[in-house]
Symmetry: C2
Subunit: 243 residues, 2 copies
């Protein structure tokens, strides 16, 4: 069975967390909305599942994943599913719930990162909420980013299996997601991250570990990896980035 | 085994979704931070698990649930766990993932509801971000609330098992959470909800169904149910509520 991923074709966004898990698993998948020319591919195929009146269990928003007859949405839900199937999460209940809990905390972090440039509403341009964005981002960089990053540093420190990865001794989807968050923060806030990274040595090492895994490295070097840009979750606006 | 719930003692907040699942299940639990006089109870007991240096798998924030040796956090993660144990979710994989997906969407909705009164940062008082709150809430009531509520209406409409509940023919934790969201929105935005509810008849009926279940009804009438107030997620500020 080949998975079908549905996500906006021009951004990493929340779909990137699913892409990373699919790539690290080495499974076959189609990135449907990026399809070229095939009759049933492209953004219309995605919108059909999103808005179509015959979909019994409609997603609220992309990303969603088709796995046979299943249509799954919500990033953390998709990752939980893929994690079980492709050994990107512990098999036991306690470990599985722990990795999911970490992922949900990462998803909260991503929501807050998104809202630094969109504190009022997603339907408005950044330029129309710039003033509020400056105020929110200042607080985010002062309080929220250190709190989240410090939390994951602590989790690594307390991992009795070694602390290379967040949970136990093996890579999980939460590690892939933490890699992506650090990567995105470096893009969005390079000056602030220089300061913040001095406090989170283990998180920095984890980012490097993940980036150097064979499949991740190959993916990042491929044209399947969309470049960061100012339509995604992680956006670089120089005026928001304070050291 | 008696569950231990850890959450702020004076608000419903995100802990309320867990309280509702515990109450509907009829299981024994202690609301630890609301403990009175016992040596190991109260807010300090909660902060010890949150900040204590010996906790191997620390929560990022309340609520969290202790179940034997397990300490679980993240509302949706706790509910997934309770749902499996106490028949508040389907047993099969597809149904289980679907209910979790709905819960994660409800959690996103709750985050957006929270940010109507705190669009800049949680560390600031509402009064210090009132201007931004007015702008964000106007967009929320115009676009986001109808989008989320309309989504759940559609889910009920398409449920081939009858449409009393969100998934299949039986109550799930997602139904309890949707009840709570509607209840909270009615408290926070009574004028806006009068308008919004005309478009979501099935959601309104579900709210009534859940409220009339014996255990929920008994809980809501008890002093275990904390009243809505202006420290929680659902806050009533007259100036934000537009018809």
């Amino acid at each position: 069975m080949r998975y079908e991923l549905y996500y906006w074709p021009s951004i990493q966004g929340r779909g990137e967390f699913v892409r990373l898990a699919l790539e690290e698993s080495g499974v076959a998948y189609m990135d449907i909305a990026r399809g070229s020319g095939e009759e049933d591919a492209g953004v219309p195929a995605m919108l059909e599942l999103l808005d179509g009146e015959t979909v019994e269990r409609p997603p609220f928003a992309p990303p969603f994943l088709k796995a046979g007859k299943l249509i799954l949405s919500q990033t953390a839900n998709i990752l939980q599913f893929l994690g079980q199937r492709h050994r990107l999460a512990p098999a036991g209940e306690a470990g599985r719930l722990w990795v999911h809990q970490l992922q949900l905390t990462l998803c909260d972090f991503v929501d807050e990162i998104h809202d630094t440039h969109h504190p009022i509403d997603g339907s408005l341009y950044y330029e129309d909420q710039r003033k509020e964005a400056k105020r929110r981002t200042a607080k985010f960089l002062e309080l929220r980013a250190p709190k989240y990053l410090g939390y994951f540093e602590r989790v690594l420190e307390r991992n009795r299996s070694g602390g290379t990865y967040l949970a136990g001794a093996r890579l999980s989807y939460a590690d892939l997601s933490l890699f992506q968050v650090v990567d995105g923060l470096r893009y969005a806030f390079p000056r602030a991250m220089q300061r913040l990274e001095t406090e989170i040595p283990r998180v920095v090492v984890l980012h490097g570990h993940v980036a150097s895994r064979a499949r991740v490295r190959a993916y990042l070097a491929s044209d399947r990896r969309i470049a960061f840009n100012e339509d995604g979750v992680f956006r670089h606006y120089k005026e928001l980035d304070r050291a």
